[in-house]
Structures are given as structure tokens and as C-alpha cells.
Subunit: 136 residues, 2 copies
DNA sequence: GCTAGGATTAGAAATCATTATTAATAAGGG
DNA sequence: CCCTTATTAATAATGATTTCTAATCCTAGC
């Protein structure tokens, strides 16, 4: 990996890793801006693109409007909360889905697959319970 | 399902079903416009939203790309071509992924999952072979 | 049939996420 | 140091989708 580490690039990467979350570009922009107030959102986008291109981080193509970025590039899947959009990692036995168990149309050349669970995260469940209690 | 069927709504639904494909809003707009030239793209979006809300069709969400709409609401998964973005159905044994085989963080309340294969569709493969031949 | 009132529409403008442009700045390498 | 190239901030542009608004269409109730 011959990737020049500029100050901005390094800060973006560090903040993403530090967060241990799956942040969107503008969430990350918000965090980095606290330290480098003059950084531009376009710089964040550009560097997330560069970093994911180099395989240092992963770009998640998951339901929802915005892309999220993952500091963990190991092979794993995700679950996301339909209510607050937060994304968490799940570990699913790799190889669970064998190509043999799938009927494909035509002769697609498969390059990968992605499993995405959908649900309601614990914080949102608590929020909902509280809201329900208040209702009565 | 108490869903008023306006002319536009009916035409949008019919064209989607007729296509037997997974169309984007503006692809569908293009088709419907041939029959109703004065229809608005906003109407297409609004009605696709209404129809998928009522469960008549399904909205396919993949981050960062245009949403596509599926005339088939049966439980099934998809494969999409990284090259031309086309989406096809796949049938994957339901129940293949048991919740038991998944480690979840915290106590997510799971409402569903989605499996998405990625690959290169037959037409794109042919295109690539031809391009390669020309190269020599 | 006629009409009030809500739903739906076309068309345009607004919004949101992302990417491209541009001119200025920084950073290596000789 | 100077030259070349990469990178940046700021801004404009883009593409997909949503919202707004005034006009039109339905549908009951009379």
C-alpha cells in the first residue's frame, strides 16, 4: 500500500477507527471539524473514497440514503436499525451460503454476496417502551 | 387494502408488472410517458411510494444507488450486476439463514434479513469478452 | 345533475448526498 | 531551493428524490 498520509487523511482515518462505529461522511466531517475546523466535506468524501479504494476501510452499501464507512475490513455482515439507521456488525458463519443452494437466472458470474439483517436496536426498543408507557 | 386506483397509479403498476424487471422510478417514468405523455416524474415517485407502502409492490434499497421497484412481493432475494446495475431475482432457500447461526450485538429485535448477491450478468460478460477480443 | 371537500395531479422548486471544478497550498524529489 | 504533482478548501454542479402549490379530478350528499 503506497498511500500518502496527509494530515487530513490521517485524522479522518483515526476518527473513524476511534469511533468504532459505522459513520456517514458527514458524521465524520462533524467529528473531524472539531479538531481541524477548516476541513472541507469534500475532503472527507475524497479521502474516504481513497481509503476504501486502498482497502484500509470499507465502504458499506447498505439500505438507506447515505453510505457508511467501516474501519473493519474483515469479511463480516451488518445489521441496521430501521428506526435510527444505526449499523452494527454481525458475525455470520462464512460459507453458510453456498452458491449451490442458490438458483441464479442465466449465468451470472458471482463475485460476492452481502447479508443484511434489519431490526430494532436496543436503544430504540427502550425508547419505544418509554414512549408507550407515557401514552397511558 | 383500500387503495384508490387512479389512472396514473394503475398505469404505473401495470407497466412495472408488464416489464417483469426491477425498474427505477425514471425508467418507469420513461415507459409510462409513452402512454400518458403529461405524467410527471413526481407522480411516479409518489405512486411507487404509495404502492410499496400498501404492499402491492416492493421497494429495493441498496445504498448509494437508485432505488428499484419489484412487482413481486414474495419473499426472495436479488442479484445485481456491478457493471450495468441490472437486478434479477434469485431464489434462496428460506430458512437457510437461521437466526441461531448469527451472533448479534446487544439485543437487536430482528425483523428481517436480505441477501444480496453481486456479480456480472451474462450480457455484460459477453460484452467484456468482445471488448477483450478487439483489444488484440 | 350539482356542488362542496378531500385526494391527486403536473410542474416547478427545493433538498439531500455526493462529485466535479478550480485556484491556492503543501510536499516530495532532484 | 525549485519544479512537478498531489492535495486541499471552497464552491458549483449533479443526480435522485421530495416537497410545494395551484389546478384538476372524484365522490358523496343534496
Amino acid at each position: 500500500m503506497q498511500l500518502r498520509m496527509t494530515n487530513q487523511r490521517e485524522m479522518i482515518l483515526k476518527e473513524l477507527q476511534k469511533s468504532k462505529q459505522h459513520l456517514t461522511a458527514d458524521e465524520l466531517y462533524g467529528r473531524v471539524k472539531k479538531i481541524m475546523p477548516r476541513i472541507s466535506l469534500a475532503t472527507v468524501y475524497r479521502n474516504l473514497e481513497t481509503l476504501s479504494g486502498a482497502g484500509v476501510i470499507a465502504k458499506l452499501e447498505i439500505s438507506g440514503r447515505q453510505k457508511r464507512f467501516d474501519y473493519d475490513t474483515e469479511d463480516h455482515d451488518h445489521i441496521y436499525c430501521v428506526q435510527c439507521q444505526r449499523v452494527d456488525n454481525i458475525s455470520l458463519e462464512r460459507g453458510l451460503i453456498a452458491t449451490s443452494s442458490v438458483s441464479l437466472p442465466g449465468d451470472y458470474k458471482i463475485t460476492g454476496y452481502r447479508v443484511e439483517f434489519v431490526g430494532i436496536c436496543p436503544p430504540c426498543q427502550r425508547k419505544n417502551r418509554k414512549a408507550k408507557e407515557k401514552q397511558r
